[in-house]
């Protein structure tokens, strides 16, 4: 009964989202919505592995690969994004495996894992900057305008098409999140995040499980990068790769709530609306203010509300919820030091 009600709510919500652009056509607001959906997808991709304690700061790198490989293949070799996007996803996946395998095989966890993945986004950023003859370096890069078939080039001029594409991609991300949530891997990964040795002793293949989730997360992030590139038609190393983008993903996911499916989406809504409000309200004077607010919020959230806004609100609404998972209980304790 509960399940049916929830499905119905999802169905109505989705129908409303699909219908929205046909009713309301303000291009600026649609543009914001498209950005929110694309970034939500990226944040959701991050949270798929982030929620299991696998905090990666390398996702900026995967996103950069998705965006740049797609654009470079189109400009230099004339490969349609329909081929370029899968190629870029494969490239990001390969990189994730190359970096992930030794990390997981040799038990690089916690600080070490974060710093290794930090190095990864650093590498991607430096490579993009260093190959400036092809990528335009820090000045940014623009995919060539398609002369012929728009669909083949995945370039559309109207916001409506992009809104529907972004909505589809976002929905795909949410579906994958739920799919992972219901899979056996979730239990394995939760066991791993609490105690690797115990999980291994209980028959969980620690390396394989972690690699699977990392691969999935990296490939989805690359897709987000490629879609972002196709939509914006302009990318710079700083907007799609590097440490700042990685931290932004972590931030949005944590603010929204890491342990609920719509948490990262909620985080994207908050962060993008905040940035846009500040930008419109203060104009060029606002440069930097949005990040200042982000940073303060991030620190406050981690100290006082580690489950994020949506996560905490949902907890409040459902006090009789099933026994929280151990690592969330830990998080709750952190919220109230001294209890």
């Amino acid at each position: 009964m509960m399940e049916q009600g929830r499905l119905a709510a999802w169905g109505i919500g989705l129908a409303a989202l699909v219908a929205l652009p046909f009713v309301y056509r303000d291009p600026y607001h649609l543009h914001i919505l498209v950005l929110i959906l694309i970034w939500s997808f990226a944040y959701t991709s991050w949270s798929i592995m982030g929620r299991f304690g696998l905090v990666s700061l390398g996702h900026g790198g995967f996103m950069g690969i998705g965006a740049y490989v797609t654009a470079l293949l189109w400009n230099h070799l004339g490969w349609s994004p329909w081929i370029g996007i899968p190629v870029s996803m494969v490239a990001a996946g390969t990189l994730a495996l190359i970096v992930g395998y030794p990390c997981f095989r040799f038990r690089i966890t916690g600080h070490y894992f974060v710093l290794v993945t930090l190095a990864l986004s650093g590498i991607v950023l430096q490579v993009i900057t260093a190959t400036r003859d092809y990528t335009g370096g820090s000045l940014g890069y623009t995919p060539n305008r398609a002369s012929g078939n728009k669909l083949l080039a995945l370039q559309f001029d109207d916001k409506l098409t992009w809104y529907l594409i972004a909505l589809g991609v976002w929905l795909f991300g949410i579906v994958v999140w739920h799919w992972v949530d219901r899979s056996m891997s979730r239990y394995a990964l939760e066991a791993i995040s609490e105690d690797e040795d115990a999980a291994a002793a209980a028959g969980v293949n620690v390396t394989a499980e972690k690699l699977k989730i990392t691969l999935l997360s990296a490939v989805m992030t690359a897709l987000a990068g490629a879609i972002y590139c196709q939509y914006q038609m302009f990318i710079t190393p700083d907007t799609v790769s590097g440490i700042a983008v990685s931290l932004q993903m972590v931030f949005a996911a944590i603010v929204g709530g890491l342990f609920v499916s719509l948490g990262p989406t909620f985080g994207a809504v908050i962060t993008i609306l905040l940035a846009e409000t500040l930008r419109i309200g203060f104009g060029t004077k606002a440069v930097g203010w949005d990040n200042l607010v982000y940073g303060v919020l991030l620190v406050l959230f981690i100290i006082f509300l580690p489950k994020g806004i949506l996560g905490s609100v949902l907890d409040r609404l459902k006090p009789q919820r099933k026994v929280p998972r151990a690592h969330e209980q830990e998080a709750v304790q952190i919220a109230r030091p001294g209890t």
């Binding site: 030794p102 040799f106 916690g110 600080h111 650093g122 430096q126 931030f251 982000y294 620190v299």
Partner: protein, 293 residues
């Protein structure tokens, strides 16, 4: 052909020596981070941003208030040391019992704050100290005086920290805490005080690094991103919390960057260093000096 080799060798030697000089500053940066990690078991993702703030402090004191470089430097060290202590008191202390990831992410938030604070307060212009130090010509090789000075100052700083850690009571307590966190409280050591002191020393080292880096590089709000990652890599490569490992790793990295930059652009030096790092993770995941189990 012979002539080509001659030139090549001189350049190579110059790059090697420049690498050593760069290594001194990197080692200083890594030392502060290693100290914090070794004692408090926290990674300050925002470490390079503290350096950036220190560089701005130097810039303003020297350019606006007309202080001499050597008068401004101790103030900068003091300021960043206080920032380090404040960071510990405000952000790390409430999270000491939290999972390590939370502490790390909280300092990530501080990174945002410091970076955008600098953007808001100082703008995104590149600023430099306006001090042009002479270039030392040695045979056919040229070395910047600033680099030599930084190298020497970094060495002196490290020796001071070494003496402090081995010859004073507080230093001994710091080293003891890095060996066993729980037991020291039972031995009558106030761990909170030691943590604060350690954070202040770590900040002070960042301040010293800032004084040296500002001689060579322009300061802008995002300058931290250019040497922050490399500092973390050095610490991981040396083994987090392992001072000697960090010291060696700093020079290994500096040589790779310097030699890589010799053959191509400087960015490729960085790319090579990053790639080397990932390869080393396969071979020695717990750091250069880790004992094989």
């Amino acid at each position: 052909m012979q002539g080509f080799l001659d030139i090549f060798d001189i350049y190579l030697l110059e790059a090697v020596i420049n690498g050593i000089l760069l290594g001194g500053v990197l080692a200083l940066l890594a030392l502060g981070l290693n100290l914090i990690f070794g004692v408090i078991d926290v990674t300050w993702i925002c470490y390079a941003e503290l350096v950036m703030i220190g560089m701005y402090a130097m810039y303003f004191m020297v350019q606006y208030y007309g202080l001499s470089y050597f008068v401004a430097a101790p103030f900068t060290v003091l300021l960043v040391a206080m920032l380090g202590a404040a960071l510990h008191f405000l952000v790390i202390a409430p999270l000491l019992t939290a999972p390590p990831i939370n502490q790390l992410l909280a300092t990530g938030g501080v990174l945002f704050v410091l970076q955008s604070f600098a953007t808001v307060a100082f703008g995104i212009d590149f600023r430099n100290l306006g001090i042009r130090l002479p270039v030392l010509a040695f045979g056919d090789m040229n070395f910047s005086y600033a680099r030599l000075l930084s190298f020497l100052a970094a060495l002196v700083g490290m020796v001071c920290v070494y003496l402090f850690m081995t010859r004073t009571f507080t230093g001994t307590a710091i080293r003891a805490i890095s060996q066993d966190r729980q037991i020291m409280a039972l031995m009558g050591v106030d761990t909170r005080r030691i943590y604060l002191i350690t954070s202040a020393i770590g900040g002070g080292l960042a301040g010293l690094a800032a004084c040296l880096l500002v001689l060579q590089y322009d300061v802008h709000p995002f300058v931290g991103l250019s040497f922050g990652p490399i500092t973390f890599l050095i610490c991981v490569l040396g083994g987090l919390g392992n001072f000697i490992g960090g010291f060696i790793a700093a020079f290994v990295f500096a040589e790779i960057i310097s030699l890589g930059g010799l053959f191509s652009d400087l960015e490729w030096g960085y790319v090579l260093a990053f790639a080397f790092f990932i390869v080393m993770m396969f071979i020695r995941p717990a750091g250069l000096l880790a004992r094989r189990r």
